[in-house]
Amino acid sequence: GQQVMQIPQYQHVQEGEDFTTYCNSSTTLSNIQWYKQRPGGHPVFLIQLVKSGEVKKQKRLTFQFGEAKKNSSLHITATQTTDVGTYFCAGQEGYGQNFVFGPGTRLSVLP
């Protein structure tokens, strides 16, 4: 079945440093979503990518969908303490409606 992996598992950065997490699917995706989960909270939607090679920006966050639609990345420029949390990618395969979540990357930001 479809598997989604993320690296790194953990990332500790100093406030102001950049951060990147990578997501890889074992199968080609129709689209991919990114979520952020704060400690003790529930996943909150960040963005959805659909097109091959698509790049979207939200302020300091840049999301990219690979050309083969099997991988994606999230890059945060100049991290802030408010960026702390776990970032999950979730892939939807083909025309199916099930989203498979990756294990997440936990980001810690030291002030």
Binding site: Q33, Y35, H42, P43, F45, A90, Q92, Y95, F99, G104
Partner: protein, 120 residues
């Protein structure tokens, strides 16, 4: 309500007991998902409803787990003969399904706060 509501927020039960977890999705959302999340892990898919029917129940771990959505709104996840390994946060999410050309694709998932199940 404005968001997805899940009850109870916490449930402590003994091994072997029966448990029901309820999810009230955002009004008008046709898609409803159940996920299970253990500490330090990503949400694990259990079952997905489109309307009243289960469109995909391939994530249910065994026949002790069952979910219903009889009127296409509220859903109940039912766990029989609970085991200690069932302890986790059970997350419900709802979504609108958008039609993109011929292929329907799901929009963003709106998650509830989750129901934390502890089996002693």
């Amino acid at each position: 309500g404005a968001g997805v509501s899940q009850t109870p927020s916490n449930k402590v039960t003994e091994k072997g007991k029966y448990v029901e977890l309820r999810c009230d999705p955002i009004s008008g959302h046709t898609a409803l998902y159940w996920y299970r999340q253990s500490l330090g892990q990503g949400p694990e898919f259990l079952i997905y409803f489109q309307g009243t029917g289960a469109a995909d129940d391939s994530g249910l771990p065994n026949d002790r787990f069952f979910a219903v959505r009889p009127e296409g709104s509220v859903s109940t996840l039912k766990i029989q003969r609970t085991e200690r390994g069932d302890s986790a946060v059970y997350l419900c999410a709802s979504s609108l399904t958008k039609s993109w050309g011929r292929a329907p694709n799901t929009g963003e998932l709106f998650f509830g706060e989750g129901s934390r199940l502890t089996v002693l």
